[in-house]
């Protein structure tokens, strides 16, 4: 198998998934509205005290991003599983892990990237400003792909399982904890100016590289198990 046909397959898959996503616009916007809504709930529930919100902001925004990613994970393979195209992907001569990487990339482009772009808007609600917002966008830019990559394993494992959504969160949230810690850490470090944010971002980048190499293989194995 030549490399060009493999990369072509990934591109085709990417274009197909994105087209599908744009045809189902409501499905695409639900996690985003969820993200905005959840982050808006906190100031309403604990009061709009400026310093308090600045303190909890980074953590809340990251938790909301985690939950939004989790919500959208279930749909990553489901429709393909239901209409049988996933089985066709398993049968293609191209390596499954590459195709999976394409699907994950498409998932990130429709759920993660909009989240990154929306983040400053949410940051204003928490009185975060200037450099902190940029750090937050950077952290989310590095962190959300990892959420999609790790989540893909869980989505593949729980494919077609009854009560899969709840199960998925139980499986995947423990794996998300390191991303949450360093992602929120970067924003908090930048907000309080107590520490440089760069090491946090570098660690997130390391996670991203590691996840990009390992998770597609694990997801491909999980898909093979789930489809028998």
């Amino acid at each position: 198998m030549s490399t060009s046909s493999s990369s072509q397959a990934v591109l085709v898959l990417l274009r197909r998934d994105l087209t599908l996503a744009f045809r189902h616009r409501s499905e695409m916007f639900t996690p985003l509205f969820f993200f905005i809504l959840v982050t808006a709930l906190f100031p309403m529930s604990i009061g709009a005290e400026r310093s308090l919100l600045q303190n909890i902001g980074p953590g809340v925004i990251w938790v909301a991003a985690l939950l939004a990613a989790l919500l959208s994970l279930e749909s990553m393979f489901r429709s393909d599983y239901e209409d049988g195209s996933l089985e066709q992907m398993l049968l293609t001569p191209q390596p499954l892990s590459l195709l999976v990487l394409g699907k994950i990339l498409a998932h990130w482009l429709r759920t993660g990237l909009p989240l990154v772009l929306l983040a400053p808007l949410v940051g204003f609600q928490y009185y975060l400003a200037g450099e902190t917002l940029i750090t937050m966008m950077l952290a989310l830019l590095l962190g959300t792909p990892v959420l999609s990559l790790l989540g893909a394993i869980g989505a593949a494992l729980t494919l077609g399982v009854r009560g899969g959504g709840m199960l998925l969160s139980l499986l995947i949230l423990p794996l998300y904890i390191p991303i949450l810690v360093y992602g929120a850490g970067a924003v908090a470090a930048s907000a309080t100016q107590s520490l440089p944010a760069q090491p946090f971002l570098l660690l997130l980048g390391a996670f991203l590289i590691l996840a990009m190499v390992l998770t597609p293989v694990a997801t491909a194995a999980a898909l093979r198990i789930s489809l028998g």
Partner: protein, 228 residues
């Protein structure tokens, strides 16, 4: 074999607890009687990690050699591992209240042990959620391998890169610095916990096999029911 392992668990537990309670000094550095909980806490914490490695070992064997028994072993290890994780956390909480004056602290080691507990829970949840045992075995085995990242995390979580950032309450310790008296009780308890695990895991393996083979003739002969 099971009664022997049970015996080999019971006797050293009694001996180890006796030795730990009555033959060791009453006061250890600044700690009074309450330090004695380490005779349960430390072996349980070790077992929680060891059993996870055992679980992953069986899972890997099962995935490589396609042997059903390996998956059964892995599935049988999980509840015991979770139990020991729970004991380690619980005794830690009790000890923390008397020693640190707080029930819980977000010390890196406590946090990572908690993550391990969630991973055990996720493994068992996935195993029981999928009805087809062939798929359940393989899916949960893959999950166990993914969750392996947690073990080195716990092990090295005492190496705090920056003391001002994460107050590592678990300091680095070395076995050679501990008094012989205490070591005797400690090692006896470790041995007892291993034996307990063997006994319980073998019982559980037997039950799982019986449950899975319930439609075969040898099982119905064994339980004396009519082969319907």
């Amino acid at each position: 074999m099971i009664p022997w392992f049970a015996l080999a668990a019971g006797v050293p537990t009694v001996f180890g607890l006796y030795w730990g309670f009555f033959e060791t000094p009453d006061i250890l550095s600044q700690q009074k009687e309450y330090y004695r909980i380490i005779f349960v806490h430390v072996p349980a914490a070790w077992m929680s990690m060891w059993l996870y490695l055992v679980l992953v070992g069986w899972a890997v064997l099962g995935l490589i050699y396609n042997t059903r028994l390996s998956f059964v072993m892995a599935a049988a290890v999980a509840p015991t591992g979770a139990l020991f994780t729970g004991i380690a956390l619980l005794t830690g909480v009790l000890w923390g209240k008397t020693s640190w004056g707080t029930w819980w602290d977000w010390d890196p080691r406590l946090t990572s042990e908690l993550i391990l507990f969630f991973i055990y829970a996720g493994y068992m949840a996935l195993q029981s959620a999928i009805e087809d045992s062939y798929r359940a075995d393989r899916a949960s085995a893959l999950l166990a391998i993914v969750g392996l990242f947690c073990i080195p995390l716990i092990y090295w979580s005492i190496n705090c890169p920056d003391p001002t950032q994460c107050a590592a309450l678990h300091a680095r310790s070395s076995l050679s610095a501990i008094e012989t008296n205490i070591l005797i009780a400690l090692w006896t308890m470790v041995f007892a916990f291993w034996m307990y695990s063997f006994a319980v895991i073998f019982v559980r393996v037997r039950n799982i096999i019986l449950e899975r083979e319930r439609n075969s003739t040898w099982v119905s002969k064994l339980v004396g029911g009519d082969p319907s």
